[in-house]
Subunit: 225 residues, 2 copies
DNA sequence: GCCTATATGTCGCAG
DNA sequence: CTGCGACGTATAGGC
């Protein structure tokens, strides 16, 4: 990893055209050849960048500022840095990173809801999780107290996309005479107003899930018995 | 901006739980207090990060590795770095960045098209940009030569999502007797074949926009008059 | 301040 | 290789 602090201007031509005026910035050159340019704010997003695989060519211009050109192999995207003054330039050997270990939430939420399906209403029974269809698996398929089929789409954040997804499933499932009529439930820890409007307009009910409460059920049950 | 190369392990607790085993990495501490941790690959995404506004507290433990804790004000998210060995630690004054100048983004396209609405056909007149509905704003609402309402969905890259979006708007707008019947136009610099098929199947016309030509109209007009 | 759409989103996975 | 969904999405622009 090479860290360069330099006064530079940057021109990107690719999916769009962008320009950074001359200013001091951090230029990050990684072992895989990727380059990113950071300002002194915002943790996540670089001002400019080039994803691997790409190649950096440094050109020393006799009578002017150096020019660094980063070219992306496949897409032809290009990043041109004009380096006016280098304030810092160090390289460091880091080695391969062991990688991030995540503790998922989404799948856990599905487990919990499947386990406590009556959260959706009294008398609900689980058919199965990840019920397979031609256009992808339905998160949860179950039956309500009246034995009608219910398809559940589960999200951490309930957005319009999720309603669309559930709508597609419902359309497909309702063609199956074994299952029809199938009702839809849109369940999420948080449901956006727009998504709620769309869902209800389509006769899909919305359920806001309390993750901590759901998780809390289990210990309670264990404690009681 | 402070650049630290260090052997560290990281624990994030917040929207999920994540752990990074001990390894050498770059720790980037920016002027706004934000922190990001980078491995030696992938330009764009840090392994771990904390967005501003957040606060970094450095603790020296008497008989063990230092511990840095980054806390996010609002959400209570937390990032804990255990620093085993610091290989590099420098700070640099960068100042406020003049910022990125972009060209060719949707908002600009929208401006241009609204300004030259007859690009869609002779006799077209603009009703308004960002026409509000319950499920979100329609990019452009206008009337054609025959005074029929036309809803335009604008994208840089025309994908299936955009067609779905426009379809939702059309369904809603067509319920309004003041506006109905409303026709749909899907306009983009580039339209994916699948999106075109879907759009045309739904009676939505597709228009490929030439950004340079659109942009070129104005100077040309100015030149002519 | 909250809310929503956009993004050079990126990333990973299945078909 | 492409399409699709998830992401600790982040971030900018409105209200």
């Amino acid at each position: 990893m090479r860290l360069v602090i330099a006064r530079c201007s940057v021109d990107y031509v690719g999916r769009l055209t962008a320009h950074l005026p001359m200013a001091p910035r951090l230029i990050l050159i990684k072992a895989d050849g990727s380059v990113s340019i950071h300002a002194d704010d915002r943790a996540f997003k670089p001002l400019n960048w080039m994803n691997p695989p790409c190649k950096l060519r440094e050109e020393t211009v006799a009578d002017g500022p150096d020019q660094w050109t980063v070219t992306h192999g496949k897409s032809g995207e290009k990043l041109v840095l004009t380096i006016e003054e280098v304030m810092h330039d160090t390289s460091h050997e880091l080695g391969k990173d062991p990688g991030l270990q995540k503790d998922g939430v989404e799948s856990h939420l599905q487990e919990l809801l499947a386990e406590h399906i009556t959260t959706l209403g009294e008398g609900y029974t689980l058919i199965r999780r990840e019920f397979p269809t031609a256009i992808g698996p339905v998160d949860i398929l179950c039956r309500d107290a009246g034995n009608a089929t219910v398809a559940v789409e589960l999200k951490r954040r309930g957005d319009i996309d999720g309603v669309e997804q559930l709508t597609r499933y419902l359309e497909l499932l309702n063609r199956d005479p074994q299952l029809a009529p199938v009702r839809g439930v849109f369940a999420a820890q948080e449901i956006k107003p727009q998504a709620r409007v769309l869902a209800e307009d389509r006769g899909i009910s919305c359920v806001v899930l309390d993750y901590d409460a759901l998780r809390g059920i289990e210990p309670d049950v264990l404690r009681l018995f």
